[in-house]
């Protein structure tokens, strides 16, 4: 699975880090960091993160 976040859209709402904490993290300066190639076992959490992103910036590929 590949995860791509459109950082031009991302507004650091942080909902993805609640839904899939193993993949998305808000760092100490409030910016998103994420694992672009998470294990397939994270799929359900990543789908949840994509669903709850207020600006719909998360794209799941493959």
């Amino acid at each position: 699975m590949r995860v791509n976040v459109d950082l031009a859209l991302c507004e650091d709402h942080g909902q993805c880090a609640i839904a899939a904490p193993a993949v998305f993290r808000i760092n100490d300066v409030g910016k998103l960091e994420y694992d672009a190639a998470p294990a397939d076992s994270e799929l359900a959490n990543v789908e949840e993160a994509a669903d709850v992103c207020p600006v719909q910036a998360i794209l799941i590929e493959g």
Binding site: E11, D12, G14, Q15, A17, I26, D51, V52, L59
Partner: protein, 408 residues
């Protein structure tokens, strides 16, 4: 079995889309048809009062839709989206829908995802120049009505009203907000925080008129002012009515046994009370949430369609296949956000239920620097609101409610 049973989803917005996706995730392999009365595939509404309202490059419906359309999971590639026509009636016993053009469709299972529409003010005077803001077409019409430095009166200081007022002020318009019940958003966030936000917004140029109600609109062919019930008139080039919502449930009328007094009453599994093989999703669903109490409520948060669709789809899939429903109670933790000027408000829980609000961090006289409020009822935590707090803090704020989720 499931493969031959067809599901109708009435409502083509976020709730309808998530319902279709979650029906597939729950194993329903039969046909799904989504009926939407708007001409567009499901799109994201919150930016309509913020970024999209302000975007100089997106003035047409097409340009707005391109920016707002939801990505759809490949699992719903075979779902039929029947758009641009309202469902006007439904016979649950017969399993049929009637469309606005008189056509009919049958279903084995039904998802009620018909949502809300803006409430309109019923006052004397011209209607031209008075807008609402919920759809792409609403946003296009509002933008077309604005010229440079328009005088805008926003009626209603709830979240939509405040966001719209902040955006229009930032664009250089002269904005007055009228709210009879108290400072902005006070019903949800409490009067102390509401008063602080009012001051913040006044410093950014919004003028608030708190107290009097609206008696009518002045003008001959189009609105040129708003007449208040204290006798004052506020001149206006454009009016935005942001006075709450009406549930789209008329199409269900005539089916005995349903409670349509406020949305559609469901049980905790989102199964519509008084019907079989019918579930409700999104802000039209009035369901009991055991997180705080068992009182059925509708929740008009953006997160609610996604939360409720998951559970409702499993419930319907179980009903269609004769399986037992999921045993664990459905207890979603409500959350919402709102962006207004340089403030981001993030709420967890249900702060509107509170009888006491305390400031845990920060200073209400300087909201930009960050404020955290705790909302309690009878001493128990029911909500928290973070203004401009670091996003990394959110997980902890939300987790405070996880222990309240009942497991059985």
């Amino acid at each position: 079995m499931s493969a031959s049973q067809n599901v109708a989803v009435v409502g083509g917005s976020l709730a309808g889309l998530r319902a279709a996706e979650q029906l597939r995730a729950a194993g329903h392999s039969g046909p799904i048809t989504v009926y939407g009365n708007e001409p567009h595939l499901p799109y994201n509404r919150p930016p309509l009062s913020k970024e999209v309202l302000a975007d100089p490059d997106r003035r047409t419906a097409e340009a707005m839709f391109d920016r707002l359309v939801f990505r759809r999971r490949s699992s719903v590639d075979d779902v039929v989206f029947h758009l641009g026509q309202a469902v006007v009636a439904c016979d649950l016993a017969a399993g049929t829908l009637t469309l606005a053009d008189g056509g009919t469709a049958s279903f084995d299972g039904l998802v009620v995802a018909s949502g809300l529409r803006p409430r309109r003010l019923r006052v004397d005077g011209p209607k031209r120049g008075a807008h609402v803001l919920r759809s792409i077409e609403d946003c296009v019409a509002l933008r077309r009505s604005l010229s440079d430095e328009s005088r805008v009166v926003v009626i209603g200081a709830g979240f939509i009203g405040c966001e719209t007022a902040a955006t229009l002020t930032s664009l250089g318009h002269h904005v007055v907000v009228i709210e009879p019940t108290g400072p902005p958003m006070n019903r949800v966030i409490g009067s102390a925080l509401a008063g602080a936000i009012q001051q913040h917004h006044e410093a950014h140029g919004i003028h608030f008129v708190i107290g009097p109600g609206v008696r009518g609109y002045t003008g001959s062919e189009r609105v040129d002012g708003v007449l208040l019930d204290d006798g004052a008139t506020i001149g206006a080039d454009v009016v935005v009515e942001a006075v709450g919502s009406v549930c789209n449930t008329e199409w269900l009328a005539g089916n005995t046994g349903l409670d349509l007094s406020d949305g559609v009453l469901t049980d905790n599994d989102l199964a519509v009370v008084g019907a079989e093989r019918v579930v409700a999703v999104g802000d039209v669903a009035r369901f009991p949430n055991p997180l705080f109490d068992g009182v059925p409520r509708r929740v008009e948060h953006w997160s609610m369609p996604t939360d409720t669709a998951k559970r409702a789809a499993r419930t319907l899939a179980c009903q269609l296949t004769g399986q037992a429903p999921e045993p664990a109670p459905f207890a979603p933790i409500p959350s919402f956000w709102s962006d207004q000027f340089d403030l981001r408000l993030q709420s967890f829980g249900s702060p509107a239920l509170a009888d006491e609000v305390t400031v845990e961090e920060g200073d209400l006289s300087d909201l930009t620097a960050g404020v955290l409020t705790k909302h309690t009822r009878g001493g128990e935590l029911v909500g928290s609101i973070a203004l401009n707090l670091a996003p990394a803090r959110q997980r902890t704020l939300r987790d405070a409610f996880v222990s309240l989720v009942p497991t059985s």
